[in-house]
Structures are given as structure tokens and as C-alpha cells.
Symmetry: C2
Subunit: 669 residues, 2 copies
């Protein structure tokens, strides 16, 4: 099929001339899918050696479009199409040999050797579609009609007038069993409530979109989002990119030819154009028009009574290459009250792709999705006429930059429901992600979670004392704050670092935090941690977080029954100032807990401010001596100090392993 | 007794005027011994509070003489002698109360509460003596005769002519049971062989020394060591410091008076003067004259048939204040064939104080000796007329700067035996001492010694392969080099760092290494590690150490059966260069062992030189991938990698805990 697609090219030159200045020429895509296959099989240890190391370096990277705002011309010396064709045949032989000898067991899960085989097949399906788009962008001289790739024959059907269909409220749950092949982003759990809304019966047709074009929609800046406007100015777009305005009227560029505009076919636009259309339509109708979110699209799908099983093999959608090699009229395939809920063209959504709870990256392809968790890649749903395999499933989650072109259009909807934001950011700041792992991550060397151990120790020794307000000073990313809230009515976390507080707040608000962890050199792994998994989601309402200075606390932070200062005192610029005044924040009988490895460093604490770790009058003064001297006036030490260990992971081989000395001090006066 | 000593002072002014410009005035020493007592009792937790915190800060530090070459005038506002006397009385009361209530148990060891009490008493004994020297340096107007401190009455006895006594060879062993009170430096073990030598029958008398003075010995630079010459020029010394040249002849300054020179008494000089005398006498006699070392003095002691028991109570030495408050004739007290082996005046030795094997510092007084392990403090032996208690014992090891004055003189000896050097240096460079502890120190978190674990793992997997030459590349402070020498005929350790190699060499040469370890802030503890304790003393002859560059090894390092590269590759500037050429150093069938946490850092290895830990052609390349690719041509991987952990201690609370991935590679071509 992929071979056949490239047969529409008219010459070797057609392989080398870029159809799109921001993308590699087609020769790259011709070789790429096979190189991908070999790379993954080598990585999985399924084949002993490469087929062509030179090609497999050249064809490995460069799929993604460069940003239109950061074009970077590189020089490539590509092989000939014949050489690549021969390479493809050799790879095909290697893969066929592998398939014929590889023992077959169900289920095919992440650990199955068949997984990378399926990955290679599905990967080529994606490039079948994206290459068809590039071919559609190629100059006509480089392409020719081909019997396998003939467009829908009836192009002069009139477009039906669109109308709105009421979609009832629905609870949406998205998940995918790891027994079935998919891309990493499809797994995990997502739940949302979709309130009732109205949806367009049809995808927006070329005819319907013409009103927007003729109304000067491309020229009126108020219809465009800031990012969309920047794209429109760069592209100097005045109408959809595959539309051609000629003397005898509008034409449409298909894969290998230009045809009179098929007005009944869905318009193909990027997200910005679709969004501008919605703004125009809102203005026209006075109604809140926008695109569906991902889960609202699922609501349409379920409203239409669809399922993967029903769609597959029914031939009742312009999907799977079941019909012709182009779009078709928007009223051709009814799905319940709606048309083209799947197939024909992809449908832009309002939703930047995000990881479902429980997202994990597949070790053989750890950058399939993670680079797109940037809030700039919106999901498209439903598949197009050329979508096959995984692409055509309900669960498929493909996302592209919002200015990008696929065979994609849109269905508009009317609703007041705001668009919920989904956290997709992976924290990659080294210190923040180390702390996130330290507070919410795995145990190493059998050392229990430090924040939890501190909290448990405190609660055990506080016994029946009042458990009203607690303060976690130097809370960093907040784990102890949450843990203490299991016992106290309310816990406030304060840290000097707004970045640390930001992560704690995010976790409180979204229940989940994601970060990358250094494994070796520049390599990272991807982590997701949720309050729910730690049994802490029920205490979220009992905590708050503030940025603040332990040496200069704001007046409102007072009246506490318990104050924790964990790994704090040896990071303060004036620990004496902090220790001398902290009793004012505690109720009489309240308890101050200090945990510290006493790692005095001049970079944090000027030497003259150290409260121990030096000689005075010839004698050793330890930090514990200093604590006793400073706290003695208002506190009594409740019991002998204990060491509680903690481990901070730096890489998968390197760790800090530290003992924090813990003392409990009761305020006596 | 101490009170009585200060009664020789004539006025309050006598307390404030400095007898010696390099020392505090006597008021400091008057208060100091009591402050010391209180400080140690507080530190030991034996008394709940200080007697006078202000005094106890003022009188705590400043005993040591400032270097005569770095005089630093400070301003002090001292209390009156009456105030200090009152303070002393209060402290006396506190100590008496403590002694009368403290339960008494034998033995009094380091953990006994009586130890700090004895420490306070012994400390005052020392200052009784040093204060008597300061009083002797005071201007006559400030001192007065006192019945308790009358000098030896017969000062006009003629000096006996000196002669040499043959002392046979003797094996010397020094040790002290920790059941008996002593200073830290007296404990541990020391063994030495003392070949036969001749020793002067008498201490050098004033009469004998006069020959040197009259021969212009102070003026002739060739008699003086470089350090001694510098002192002599600074002090403008032309004769012993307590000698006075007056119109009617030589006088001698005693504690409270000047008397006609008692020629038969021992001359009192510092080490430099004694040494210059020896050089002069060598020139005169053509014999190799020098001072005894510490163990040679012990040889004299044993030759004389002395013991602490015999000396104490016999009244047969000018010691313990048994007689008068001054020296006496050198022929007064015979000890076997010799005179004044103990007592009269201290005897300078050639030996800079050094720690015996097994030296440990007492936690209550960790800077009694350690600051003097600098090669600049020579031991004096035998005690003087005012030495009492511990000072008067055979085991006593007091040491002073070589230009310093005590009631000290010397006995010369004739020998060809060179003076052995004793290691006294405590390595305090942070990185070096961390590595010394890492290689030769304690286990932490139950993680076994890394170098030993690597060596054991290697030996286990090498089985019956040839065990000729091995190379430990990046050997650091050398533990694995020694460990491998248990198995191989010869092991060479090479490291880029001359400092690391220096420590390994020192250990190989001296069998022992000493270093300080950071505990908390600036505080340190003192460590001593010996090859013997690790069972490695028998392999010393099988190792050598060289400074070298693993990426550019000298040609002679080749023909090995085994090469270890532990925690090396991620510290090289070009690991690829190293890995590509290392097979040339190994015999065919030989084994390369690589252990590394793969901690790639640009500060050590430019990013383009990393052999893993990055993405290439879109795929993760681990360091193991890189090793396989580079080593594949000449090596085969013997078995799957294993992680071997190691711990590096930074403070008593903070550790690096790292996993080093270990791979064994057999050279196949």
C-alpha cells in the first residue's frame, strides 16, 4: 500500500523537491517507515544487526514539521528512489523472516516481542496518511492519477444546509486495555462529565465555509486567536489551503489533480481556521459556537451509537480506504442523527493532547507523545478516508500543531460549557523533579518516604495533644503538608521557593503531577504521581500553600499546635533568627519538630550564623548544642534525638543518602 | 600548689605585664586551669551549668604560644587577680562537691565520669610547670622569693667532665593501657629497634655548654639548622636564654632570683641550641653527635633499669618537686651508669611527636595533640624538677615547638643510626580524606567496601585464568590495587591525580594513613587506617603506583591479564579514546572490568565525547550500548551487567550512595 502511494510520483525529482518547505522531501518518508521498523527491532533485541546503518541514520529523525517560525535549512544527500526501494525490499524480507519465526502468544502486551512488530506496522499506517497529505501539497507536475488512488466520483452533489442536533449530558470514561495495541497516550484513565450541548449535524462543508470566506473572515483579525493570526499572516492565507481561486471559479486540490470545488465535501482547514469560523458564526448567530473537546467528541460518538466493532467492516463511513481516495459529501454516511462522526476527514478538537492518569511511555518509543505534551498540539478525532488500523479506532489520540494540515476539518457545536484544562506539562527542571520524586516517588535502598516517616513519627509522639492547626515550614513540594493533614484539621505549607510551592499547589489543584527523571546523561524517564495513589486525595481541602520566608514570617501564621521544620535550618540565612522567634507561632504546649542533617554550607548560611558545627572557646559546639542553647528558654526537648534517613535520586545510579536528626521540642513558656 | 606558685608575684601588675611577648600575661594562666576544668565537666555533662560564662570564654583559649614569626597583638580586658582568686575558689567548691558525690568505680577509663576530673587535675599540673617557666621569664621586679619555691642550695659544685656510656641494642615497645589515665598521644602501639649507641653519662652542664658559647657557636651559622638559624636571628641569641652575662661573670636566672652560674647544673636550652651544640661537638670530636630519638631515650631508661614504680617515691631524681624548686648538679642522681635519665630538666629529642598506631583522640579534648602532628613539635622526655603526676611517667609524651623554652636541656649521644621519620600528618583535604574513608574506612548502610567487592567479584569470575600482572586504572587512593594483589602476582595502580597516588604510596610505604573526617560544619573526627588491620600488609611488595593518564598510557604498561577501570570512564576527557585502545594493554584472553555509575558530566567529559546517555537518530543510546559498540571489535561481554553499590561519606549525616554497573569483557582478538 505504501509502495503504491509513492507510485503517484512522476519522477525521481518528485522525491527530492519538497512539497512543503517545512518538511523533508518525500524520499525521506519513503525510507523512514522501514528505518523505524529496523530501529525498533534492534532496540527490542529482535534482530541482531542493522540492514543499512547509513540509511538508518539518515531516515531516522525529521518526521516532525519544523515550526513555521523557526525554519532551518539543512543539507542532505539523499539516495536514489531505486536504492531506497531496494532497501525497503530488504527490510521487508527481514521483517517477514522475523514474523515467520517469532513464537506467537496472546495477549500481545508491552512485553511481547510482537509489540514492536505491530508498532512498525501501525507507524507505517500513520505515514501512509501523512505522506498522502504531502503528495497533495506537491506541485501537480510531480504527481499523476493512479487507479489505486482515484477520488470519490460524484463531486457535484449540492451541500445540505447544516442544522443543530441536541446532544444530552453524558458521563464519559476513556481507557484502553493494555492487552490491545495502541500508542502510549491512549492508556490510563480519564473521566469527565459532558453537559448537554448542540452539535452540527454535518461536518462543515466547503459550501458552508464559503460564507465565512466571502464575509471576509480571513481578513477580520477579531475572528482569529493570537496564535492563529500569526499563522495567517505568515501563510498569507485568504482561504483554505487546498482551495484554488481560478477565473472559472473555486477549485479543490486533491492528491493528484485539481477538480471543480465539490461544495458538499467537508472543508479541510487547520485548527486556527476552524476556530475563526466558529467566532464568525457566533457573531452571526449570537450563540456560543466552538469546536468540541475530546470528550465531547466521544459524547457525539456514543450518542451516535457507534463502536469500533460496528464501524469496522460496515462500510458505513468514509474510513479504512473502504471507498475512494478522497473525501465525500458530508451527507453520505449517517451515524444516528449525525453524519460523519467518524471518517471522511479528521475533526479538530479544542483539546491540547494530555496524558490520562496512569500514562506511561513505552520504553521502545519514549518520544512518541511526550514532546507533544506542550499545550500546542491539539487532538484530532474520527479519522479520515485514508485512516486505517489503530488510526480509525475510537481510542486513537493523534495530535498536531494547531496550524498543521492533515485531511482534517471540523464539526462545530453550541455550548456555554467552558473548556477544561488538562495538565500535560512534564516538570523537567532538575531540582524540582528530584524533589517531586523525593516527596511522591519510589523508595530506594528500602528507605521509607521521608516526609511520611516524619509525619508518622510526629503523630505517634503527639498522641492526644490538640490537632488543630499545623505548619510545615520549608515544605518544598509539600508531601509532609499533605501527610500531616491526615491528623490535623488544617495544615499550611510554606516555602521560600515559589517553584516548589507551585508544584505543591498544582498537585493540590489537579491531583496529579508529572515530571521527567534523569536516568543517564541526557536520557530521562517519565513519571506521573497522583494524590489518589498515595491516599491523600481526601485531605486536599485541609491544606494550603504559601510562599514565605521562615526567618520573617507574616503575622497571620500563628496559633499552631505543631510546626515542622524539615531540612530547613541549615538552609536559612539566619537560623538563629528563626529559632529565637518560632515559639511566638506555637500555642503553649504545642510542639516544634526539627529535622536536619546539619549540613552547614556558607552558600546558604554565613559562617557566623551557623548555630553549631564549629569550635567555640576551644570546645566543639554541635548543632544540637546550639539548638538547646537557643530553644532552651521557651522549649523543652521531649526525647533524645533520632536519625530519620532520606534518599534523593539524581540518576538511576546516583543517589544522595542522608540522615536527618529529628528533635521534638515542647513549648513550655 | 598552683595558688602557692602565684604567690611569688609581687603585685597585681605582675599578673598583667607579659613575661613573654608571645604569650598571654599570667592572669590568663591563673584563671585558665579552672576554666578548663569547668569546660570539660560541662562537656561531659557532669555539672549542669557554668560558674562564670564570661570568665570561661576569656580564659578558655590562648595557651599556645603564638609563632614568633606571626605575632598578633590582641586587646584584652582582664579581671583583677582578686576576682580570679574568688572565681578559682568557687570552681574548687564545684569540683570538690562533684568529687564527693560522684560514684567511684575502677577502672577509670575513657567512659568513666572520673576521667574528666583526672583530666582537669593533670591539666593543672602542666600549667604549674609552664607558669613556673613564665615566672622565670618575668622581670625580677614582679617576682619575689617564697619558702615553697626555694632553689637547690649548693650552687657552687664543680661540673663533672662528661663521658660516653655504651648502650646496647634493644627492641623498644611503647604502649599504655587505657585503664590508666594519660593523654591521647600515649595510647596505641609503637615498636622500634634501637641499635647500639653511646650516650653522654650526664646531661650537658652549663660548664660543658660554655665551651660551645666561647667557641662562638651561636655566631657560626654552619652549626644551626635552617629553622634554628631563623630563630637565633629573630631572638638575637648569643647564649642560653636564662644565662646573664654580667661584669662579674655569668649568672643564671632562676624562678625568682639571679644567682652565680651553677656550672654543674644542666644547661637549659631549646632544641635548636641543643642541636647546634651537637653539630659543634661533632666537628670537635669527629664523631656523629646528635640528640636521642624518643625510643632511644626509652632505651636509656630501660638500660638504667628504671620503671615508674622505682622512680616514684625513691626520691632518687630531681622530680615530683621532691627536693627544691630548681635544677641541681648533673651528677646528683645516678640511674645505673647514667645520671638524670629522668628529672632535673626535660631532655629534648630528635622526634617530632607522632601518633602511635591505634591513636585515638579523646572526645572531651580532641585538640590536645592533633594540632601538634605537624612535624614542628619535638618531644621532650624525662620530666623536670617541677614535673608531677602524669608528666613524670615514662609514657609521658609532651611536645613543644623547637624554639620553645621549658625547664629543658639535653643529653647528647653518638651514633650512625639515621633518624627514622614517623608519619604524623592527618590528611585534611576534603576530597582526599573522603576517598581515604571510602577506600579504607567504615561501612555505611551495610554496603560492603566497594574496592574489595569489585576485586572479589573479579577474582570469582576470573577463576583459573592466568593471574600474573593486573592494572588498576583510575586507582585513586589504591584500595583495589591492594585487594587485587591478593590474587595477582603484581598489580599496578595508576591515577591521573598525583594527590590520590600520594596517599596510596604513603600507605604502601608506611602501612598507615591518617585523616580527618568532617562530622558537622567545621568539626572533624580523626581516623587512622592501617594495611595490617585490613590484612593487606602482606601484599605491599606486590603493588606499585604511578601517576598517569588512562587516555594516554605510557608504553610500558602492557601485557596484563586483568585491567580494572573502576569509576573511571565517566571522568575521562575521552572515554572513546581509552576504550578503543585498551585491548592493546591486555593479553588475549585477558579481562577488562569496567565499573561505572555512568554519571556523565560536561565538567569532566565534553558532551560529544559521551559514549552513552543521549539520543542518537531518535533512539536512546545508553552507556552500555556505547560500550558494546566500541569494545565489540576486540572483546566479548562475559555476562550480564551487575550493579555494585558504594557509599562515600561527606559528613556524619550526609552520604553519596551510588550504584556502579559492572561489566566484564574478555579480549578475544
Amino acid at each position: 500500500m505504501y509502495e503504491s502511494l509513492f507510485e503517484v510520483l512522476t519522477s525521481d525529482e518528485a522525491y527530492y523537491v519538497k512539497p512543503n518547505p517545512l518538511r523533508h522531501p518525500l524520499i525521506f518518508y519513503y525510507g523512514h517507515t522501514n528505518t523505524f521498523f529496523i530501529n525498533k527491532l534492534v532496540l527490542a533485541g529482535l534482530i541482531p544487526q542493522r540492514v543499512n546503518p547509513q540509511f538508518e541514520s539518515m531516515f531516522a529523525v525529521g518526521v516532525d514539521e519544523m515550526g513555521w517560525d523557526d525554519v532551518n535549512e539543512s543539507n542532505y544527500t539523499w539516495p536514489t528512489p531505486a536504492e531506497v526501494r531496494a532497501y525497503r525490499a530488504r527490510v521487508r524480507q527481514v521483517v517477514d523472516d522475523l514474523i515467520s519465526t517469532l513464537p506467537f502468544h496472546l495477549p500481545i502486551d508491552w512485553n511481547s516481542p510482537w509489540w514492536p512488530v505491530l508498532m512498525g506496522i501501525e507507524h507505517e499506517r500513520i505515514h501512509l496518511e501523512t505522506s498522502s497529505v504531502l503528495i497533495r501539497q506537491h506541485a501537480l507536475q510531480y504527481v499523476q492519477p493512479h487507479p489505486d488512488w482515484a477520488p470519490w466520483p460524484r463531486q457535484d452533489v449540492p451541500a445540505p444546509p447544516n442544522s443543530l442536533v441536541a446532544i444530552p449530558a453524558r458521563d464519559i470514561q476513556l481507557t484502553k486495555s493494555t492487552d490491545h495495541y495502541g500508542w502510549d497516550n491512549e492508556y490510563g484513565q480519564f473521566k469527565a462529565h459532558s453537559p448537554a450541548f448542540e452539535a452540527a449535524k454535518y461536518l462543515t462543508s466547503n459550501a458552508e465555509f464559503l460564507h465565512f470566506v466571502e464575509a471576509g473572515g480571513y481578513q477580520k483579525e477579531e475572528y482569529w486567536l493570537e496564535e492563529g493570526l500569526a499563522w495567517r499572516k505568515y501563510a498569507q492565507a485568504e482561504h483554505p489551503t487546498f482551495w484554488l481561486k481560478q477565473d472559472d471559479g473555486w477549485k479543490l486540490r486533491l492528491m493528484t489533480e485539481e477538480v471543480d470545488m465539490p461544495w458538499s465535501w467537508p472543508v479541510e482547514v487547520n485548527y486556527h481556521e476552524a476556530k475563526a469560523f466558529c467566532h464568525w458564526l457566533s457573531e452571526q448567530t449570537g450563540k456560543p459556537v466552538r469546536l468540541p473537546t475530546e470528550h465531547e467528541w466521544v459524547s457525539l460518538y456514543e450518542h451516535a451509537g457507534l463502536s469500533d466493532e460496528k464501524v469496522a467492516g460496515s462500510m458505513n463511513a468514509n474510513l479504512f480506504l473502504d471507498h475512494f481516495a478522497s473525501s465525500c459529501p458530508v451527507d453520505q454516511f449517517a451515524h444516528g442523527e449525525l453524519f460523519d462522526v467518524v471518517g471522511n476527514v479528521w475533526q479538530w478538537t479544542e483539546t491540547p493532547i494530555f496524558p490520562f492518569d496512569g500514562f506511561q511511555v513505552h520504553p521502545l518509543y519514549d518520544d512518541f507523545t511526550t514532546p507533544t505534551f506542550d499545550g500546542r498540539h491539539n487532538l484530532i478525532k474520527g479519522g479520515s478516508w485514508i485512516s486505517t488500523g489503530n488510526e480509525a479506532l475510537k481510542s486513537a489520540r493523534y495530535a498536531f500543531r494547531r496550524h498543521f494540515f492533515q485531511h482534517a476539518g471540523f464539526r462545530y457545536m453550541v455550548t456555554d460549557t467552558p473548556i477544561a484544562e488538562n495538565a500535560s506539562h512534564y516538570e523537567s527542571d532538575k531540582l524540582l523533579s528530584e524533589y517531586a520524586e523525593f516527596h511522591y516517588g519510589d523508595s530506594y535502598f528500602g528507605v521509607p518516604n521521608f516526609s511520611k516517616a516524619l509525619s508518622d513519627y510526629a503523630i505517634q509522639h503527639l498522641q492526644s495533644r490538640p490537632a488543630g492547626k499545623a505548619l510545615d515550614l520549608g515544605c518544598a513540594t509539600g508531601r509532609a503538608t499533605f501527610e500531616l493533614a491526615r491528623h490535623f484539621d488544617h495544615v499550611t505549607g510554606i516555602d521560600f521557593s515559589a517553584r516548589f510551592i507551585g508544584l505543591a499547589l498544582k498537585l493540590a489543584q489537579q491531583g496529579v503531577v508529572r515530571y521527567t527523571m534523569a536516568t543517564e546523561g541526557d536520557l530521562v524517564s517519565y513519571q506521573e504521581r497522583s494524590l489518589a495513589a498515595l491516599g491523600l486525595n481526601e485531605v486536599v481541602d485541609k491544606v494550603d500553600f504559601w510562599q514565605g520566608d521562615a526567618c520573617n514570617l507574616k503575622p497571620q501564621f500563628t496559633g499552631y499546635d505543631f510546626i515542622l521544620a524539615a531540612n530547613l535550618i541549615d538552609r536559612l540565612y539566619s537560623p538563629r533568627q528563626f529559632l529565637s522567634a518560632i515559639h511566638e507561632r506555637l500555642n503553649i504546649g504545642g510542639v516544634l519538630m526539627i529535622a536536619s542533617p546539619y549540613t552547614w554550607l556558607e552558600e546558604h548560611t554565613p559562617r557566623e550564623e551557623w548555630i553549631g558545627g564549629y569550635k567555640k572557646d576551644g570546645e566543639n559546639v554541635t548543632t544540637l548544642d546550639g539548638l538547646k542553647a537557643i530553644l532552651g528558654q521557651h522549649f523543652s526537648l521531649m526525647q533524645p534525638p533520632v536519625d530519620i534517613p532520606f534518599v534523593i535520586r539524581e540518576t538511576n545510579h546516583k543517589f544522595q543518602h542522608t540522615l536527618s536528626e529529628v528533635t521534638l521540642w515542647e513549648r513550655t513558656s
